[in-house]
């Protein structure tokens, strides 16, 4: 294959050439100029009484929630990846791979207290147009606990058209790595503030899943899913998003298609780029990554060998790249790592691509950490990964 190269080597080389060509001399070569923003870090051992004051203090350290949400419609993307009928062992989903419901409720409560006009909780649950509330019930959560945490709170399933009249087209300002624009549920446009409330985890395809990768799920499966309509969006979502992972077909023709259908059809190339395209099209105003309890070794119970872990960490910030960089450091990884280095052994670094796109810096020397210093809060996912791979 390709002279003396293995397919893997060829893909790696193709990827780096493609990336280099894309970036050379372009507006994307702006790592040094990428913006920075402080990141608040805190230890939090559990989801009980300790949680609310910890979150409140972190938001204060960032300048207060009021300046971000007062009088605004806030959309919060939570992480409910995979079907709610699968657990890691007997553990509740919020203690392993879903954003914990107490963290969601506490965040909603503090936002309500800070004057948010309306709070809409968003997720694209696996392969269904049913309400998010019904999805949560299957996870054994009580949606009323979250809905009553502040005034004017609602859920919306963004895996389809939902309560909107039409899909919203959001353009990728820098032109996009894979997609120039996306057609999304109206909730991603009809908000003043967009929040990514993510779980701290590793990811089989993207290396890590933090505030940026959480936004992979904002794409409606009616357009970008396995069962997406060919010409128009399907009525209801069916299946996952292998379409985006592998690029075996284009999204529904009603939505913008890929810029270059000849680009690599490799998920380790595509997923990080699509994530950056998405967070550029729908900028994140506030990112919260919750690693109080989580799993190591992957993003959900379907990944062989995942194990529960209690890092006891929360991080928050207003720039998704700086917060993801700090979270990588908290996980024992080097945020400057590129493809080939852990946790990006088989994929490109979403952080590198986001930095190149000018979204934010991943250079820890340029990021102010407030609250608990990183070295005092590290939970070494990287060491567990090394041990697992021995």
């Amino acid at each position: 294959m390709h002279g003396n190269q293995t397919r893997r080597e060829w893909l790696l080389r193709t990827t780096s050439i493609a990336t280099g060509a894309c970036l050379a001399g372009s507006r994307l070569s702006g790592a040094a100029a990428a913006p920075t923003a402080p990141v608040a870090v805190a230890r939090c051992r559990g989801y009980d009484a300790e949680l609310l004051p910890v979150l409140s203090r972190m938001f204060d350290q960032l300048g207060g929630l009021g300046r971000i949400v007062k009088g605004k419609t806030v959309a919060i993307k939570i992480n409910l990846t995979g079907m709610p009928s699968y657990r890691v062992g007997y553990l509740p989903l919020g203690d392993t791979h879903y954003t914990n419901p107490q963290v969601i409720a506490a965040t909603v409560h503090l936002m309500g207290k800070a004057g948010a006009r309306r709070i809409r909780l968003l997720e694209s649950p696996w392969s269904t147009a049913d309400s998010v509330e019904e999805y949560l019930l299957q996870a054994d959560w009580e949606p009323r606990d979250i809905l009553s945490a502040a005034p004017n709170v609602e859920f919306e399933n963004t895996n389809w058209l939902g309560s909107g009249k039409k899909y919203s087209r959001l353009v990728v300002p820098f032109g996009g790595y894979i997609f120039p624009a996306f057609d999304l549920n109206h909730s991603y446009e009809d908000c003043d503030v967009f929040v990514s409330l993510a779980k701290m985890k590793e990811h089989a395809t993207a290396g890590i899943t933090l505030s940026m990768k959480n936004c992979f799920g904002i794409t409606p499966a009616t357009i970008y899913g396995n069962g997406a309509g060919i010409d128009e969006p399907s009525d209801v979502p069916k299946g996952g998003r292998i379409l985006i992972h592998m690029g075996y077909r284009q999204p529904s023709k009603s939505a913008p298609s890929e810029k270059d259908p000849a680009s690599p059809r490799q998920d380790g190339y595509r997923v990080p780029r699509v994530v950056v395209d998405l967070v550029s099209a729908r900028p994140i105003d506030l990112a919260i990554v919750e690693g109080v309890k989580t799993i190591t070794g992957g993003e959900g119970p379907w990944i062989r060998g995942v194990a529960p872990a209690n890092p006891g960490i929360i991080a928050a910030g207003t720039n998704p790249v700086t917060i993801d960089a700090v979270c990588m450091a908290l996980m024992g990884y080097d945020p400057l790592a590129d493809r080939g280095k852990p946790p990006f052994e088989t994929c490109d670094s979403t952080l590198r691509l986001a930095e190149d796109a000018g979204i934010g810096t991943r250079d820890l020397s340029r990021i102010e950490v407030v609250g608990t210093p990183v070295k005092e809060a590290v939970f070494d996912f990287a060491a567990i990964r090394r041990k697992r791979r021995l």
């Binding site: 062992g89 007997y90 392969s127 054994d140 009525d235 299946g239």
Partner: protein
């Protein structure tokens, strides 16, 4: 048991000792005269295959298990529209036959089918029918029958497991007197032009693990809707006025009716914000009406919609890590004991640890499986209105016996 063609020697009857087999179906009297004579001497009932048996309803079933693709490869399951594996189960057929023929025993004819001929598949055939109150007419594939006749150890081991499963259910006849718990009632005449839709809805509602009640129109009584949260009226034509009135009374009292558009004008008013891609929702008294628009087309969608229309909040059983699981939840008539019978059709659970949430309050839970003669106490997490039972890895079948 359907007597195997390969078992011509009356000594084969020795295999039935202690095996809870009390009736033999013979293909031909002439060829098995000696076997028949000895069987009758031993008090075993002998019936010619195809001949009606008093007090017994026989249903044509499927060889139960995860449906495989055309290739027949054991690791390639056929899947439904959202990737959930299709399961062939006779449970709903047993339940329907029982409702259509009250007081009758239900026997299931289902011949073994390649490639699923493992010991687990035979045990599943027994359990799938028996858990729902029926009995599978034991039928052996010719290779197994020959192996048993030749007393080959591997074949005898499979026979032992199969008859062990049959014996397990025979020892728990009281469970078949338990009353099925239900959230939803499926109302139909289950015949004629309504047969396909009503039967498929029963099949697929069962697959969702919603606990259901079969309500035959002609046997509708004042207690048919007792304790239900919803009724799903599947028939193509509207009900006769008396039945319509009773169902609407159930709705006004807080129940839900899920039906097609043939009911014509309905009382109540549209529900504010009650958006659903396939149903018009109306409030009526304390309850709600969900009228399909257009009419029911795909029973898979109808079955799955019904759970959400009622709400997962009210489901009686909820599984995690169950894989391709089927279930049947029944309570003793005095409601002091309950049993949740669970069928894990995929067999291979690896180190997956299933959890089942059972609605209600219970003091203790014990787990019964075929491989342990005594029950194990189950780890139980008590919630406000339910208990979560943490099961060990289970192959095939398990029953959780609950004490209120």
């Amino acid at each position: 048991m359907r007597w195997p063609f390969e078992w011509r020697d009356p000594s084969a009857l020795d295999l039935l000792t202690g095996a809870s087999i009390n009736c033999l179906l013979m293909e031909s009297d002439a060829e098995f005269g000696a076997v028949i004579a000895r069987a009758r001497q031993e008090g075993i009932n002998v019936v010619q295959a195809g001949t009606p048996t008093a007090g017994v309803t026989v249903v044509e079933g499927e060889w139960p298990g995860v449906k495989l693709t055309e290739s027949g490869a054991l690791d390639h399951a056929a899947a439904g529209p959202t990737g959930v594996p299709w399961i062939d189960s006779n449970g709903w057929k047993v339940r329907l036959a029982s409702a259509l023929n009250p007081g009758s025993q239900v026997w299931v004819i289902a011949a073994p089918r390649k490639p699923r001929l493992s010991a687990e598949s035979y045990v599943m055939a027994v359990a799938d029918a028996a858990a729902h109150g029926g009995r599978w007419i034991i039928s052996l594939d010719s290779q197994l029958a020959e192996g048993i006749a030749a007393r080959r150890p591997e074949a005898l081991e499979r026979w032992k497991k199969l008859t062990g499963a049959a014996g397990y259910f025979a020892a728990r006849k009281d469970w078949s007197g338990y009353v099925p718990e239900a959230v939803i009632g499926i109302i139909s005449d289950f015949t004629g032009r309504n047969e396909f839709m009503s039967h498929e809805i029963l099949n697929l509602v069962a697959r969702t693990n919603q606990q259901y009640r079969v309500i035959v129109k002609t046997a509708f009584s004042g207690s048919s809707l007792d304790g239900l949260r919803a009724v799903l009226y599947t028939d193509d034509e509207a009900p006769e006025p008396g039945l319509r009135k009773r169902i609407l009374k159930f709705v006004e009292a807080g129940g839900m009716l899920i039906t097609g558009p043939k009911w014509g004008d309905l009382p109540g008013a549209p529900v504010d914000g009650g958006q659903h891609p396939r149903y018009s929702l109306r409030a009526c008294g304390k309850g709600r009406l969900a009228v399909a628009r257009p009419d029911f087309e795909d029973p898979y969608i109808v079955a799955n919609d019904s759970i959400v229309l009622i709400s997962h909040r009210y489901e009686l059983l909820r599984f995690w890590n169950g894989g391709a699981v089927g279930s049947y939840f029944a309570m003793a008539p005095d409601r002091k004991r309950g049993v949740v019978q669970m069928l894990f059709y995929a067999f291979i659970l690896g180190d997956n640890r299933p959890t089942v949430r059972v609605a209600g309050q219970y003091k203790t839970a014990r787990l019964w499986t075929f491989d342990q003669p005594t029950p194990r106490n189950l780890e139980m997490e008590i919630q406000e209105d339910a208990v979560e039972l943490h099961l060990p890895p289970v192959r095939g079948y398990a029953a959780a016996e609950l004490e209120v």
